[in-house]
Symmetry: C2
Subunit: 317 residues, 2 copies
């Protein structure tokens, strides 16, 4: 009995992160059709675009799916109105206080998970009445916490303060990492980077190719004086980094960042001037594949790691 | 068959990190007597002090033990001369290029492991002919790499480029974390923080107590313009952090750091002005215990996690 599978009505406890510019209806429905939980990433969608993606996902799968909503979203009320009107069964909220929307979503019959990067917010989740918590470590791509706590420390630390169904995120791109995260106390995982390079992801093909070639050390957490975000160390990063090293203020960094950098990089493929959000674990990803293939590989890796443990070998002492 | 146990002639694949100001003969011999591999931390010892600790360790245990040597140590030649003359069987080198000493140590019949924080240096280890590699993630206490790669990403990334016996370090303080690290590709673990708070550790008792009370988010990587080091967020850290945020130069930081900060904090117990090196995983440690008890708990946790996986439960899907 796996509580994440039970809670969301899915076959494998694998959630596809609802990533900006990557996670439209194609990716979400493909993941759901492959036995995981696909999430539409509302963070990069105007409300009417989100509504279209919900309808298209529903058309492409009869399996459960959800929407990820960053709570700092400018048109948050409209987004939530659509989600409730469309009777979306599952919502993952992030980047904000879980008390804001959990109650109203649950009143509407929606299951709610909230993404945290610290024990402090995990405790707020429990108080807010969420159904599940995602503990996302420092190694994760995109927006990230200020405590810089890694998956290895965060997952057992969150597990210590809550009995809720728990998903680990950050650094998880393989079935071995799934098993490791579960041994640390998680019930399942949320995977981002590996699904960014899925064929069905709406990330630009040049960005996908770059991720496949990225080695260990190819990303860095930047913009800590604004909102920390893990990005590829491209020219845009170097400019930001140089400014940070000389002590640039938040205002200066905001000017350097400008508007639409993530779209420019991840969606339009400007690998030089764009903001390219991806996890450290990009170093383990080396090919663009369809979601069905990725999910098969994840499960093969997972099951062979379980078998190895069962058979003793290096694990027996 | 576990290759780390075989290589070092120990019962459990658990290495006690050779930490400055904590790892004298008492700690090292206690760990070796409990079935792990104790390491004397030469980094905080004058050569003649190291020699005394080697003799005392030999007096206190007939099990294998080793010495950890940071290769940036000012009197490195003297330290290595003592190690070779004393026929120390195992040396862990760190903070430098493994090519420097591996050959000479191996010629003297010593087994050599080297600590790395990146794939780049893991490849150098393989070329230098080391017997084992320690892959230490960003969450580890004390001195740390510039790539900020976490244990979750570093261990499988290093595993991908080398078939050598591999130890995971950083974020490992429990038997569950041991199993997780091994599922990611390691053959065993190096544990630091949990042994800092052992009764036999020479860390100041006030520092040990502070670690037991530290919560998630209580440490931070500092001094990135000098040599990155993970420390407790005490007043000393706040002063350094404020300087770093305003863009202080390496020279300014060196002046603020001064001399003997780590000794002042970790050994003399000045929790306000000292440099207190400890890992993120301090948040999971809550009591000072003898090494024999710590090792029993580690093995209990490990074996019960293995049993859980064998029995299915959340792992079956």
């Amino acid at each position: 009995m796996n509580r994440i599978c039970d809670l969301f009505g899915i076959k494998y406890p694998v959630i596809q992160g609802g990533m900006v510019w990557c996670s439209g209806w194609k990716l979400a429905s493909a993941v759901s059709n492959s036995g995981g939980l696909g999430l539409i990433g509302a963070g990069s969608m105007h409300p009417e675009v989100l509504e279209e993606h919900i309808l298209r996902t529903r058309n492409a799968t009869n399996k459960p799916f959800g929407v990820n909503v960053p709570l700092m979203y400018p048109e948050l009320d409209k987004i939530m109105e659509i989600i409730i009107r469309q009777e979306v069964a599952i919502v993952f909220t992030s980047a904000g206080n879980p008390k804001l929307w959990t109650g109203r979503l649950k009143d509407a019959g929606t299951k709610v998970a909230h993404v945290v990067s610290s024990v402090f917010f995990a405790e707020k989740c429990e108080a807010a009445g969420v159904d599940a918590i995602v503990a996302e470590g420092f190694e994760a791509g995109g927006h990230n916490g200020r405590e810089e706590t890694t998956t290895f420390t965060l997952v057992p630390s969150v597990r210590k303060v809550t009995g809720l169904p728990l998903l680990a995120a950050g650094g998880v791109a393989t079935g071995r990492a799934m098993l490791a995260a579960m041994a640390l106390g998680a019930d399942g995982v949320q995977i981002g980077s590996r699904f960014v390079v899925a064929e069905e992801s709406s990330a630009h093909s040049a960005f996908k190719q770059m991720i496949c070639e990225l080695g260990e050390g190819g990303t860095r957490l930047a913009l800590k004086k604004l909102a920390p975000v893990r990005v590829v160390k491209n020219l845009f990063f170097e400019i930001i980094n140089e400014a940070e090293l000389r002590g640039a203020t938040a205002d200066e960094l905001r000017d350097l960042l400008g508007k639409g950098r993530a779209k420019k990089g991840m969606f339009e493929g400007d690998l030089v001037n764009g903001e390219l959000e991806i996890g450290q674990v990009a170093s383990l990803i080396d090919a663009v594949k369809p979601v069905s293939q990725i999910m098969l590989e994840l499960m093969d890796e997972y099951h062979s790691a379980v078998s190895e443990i069962k058979s003793g070998g290096k694990y027996a002492f």
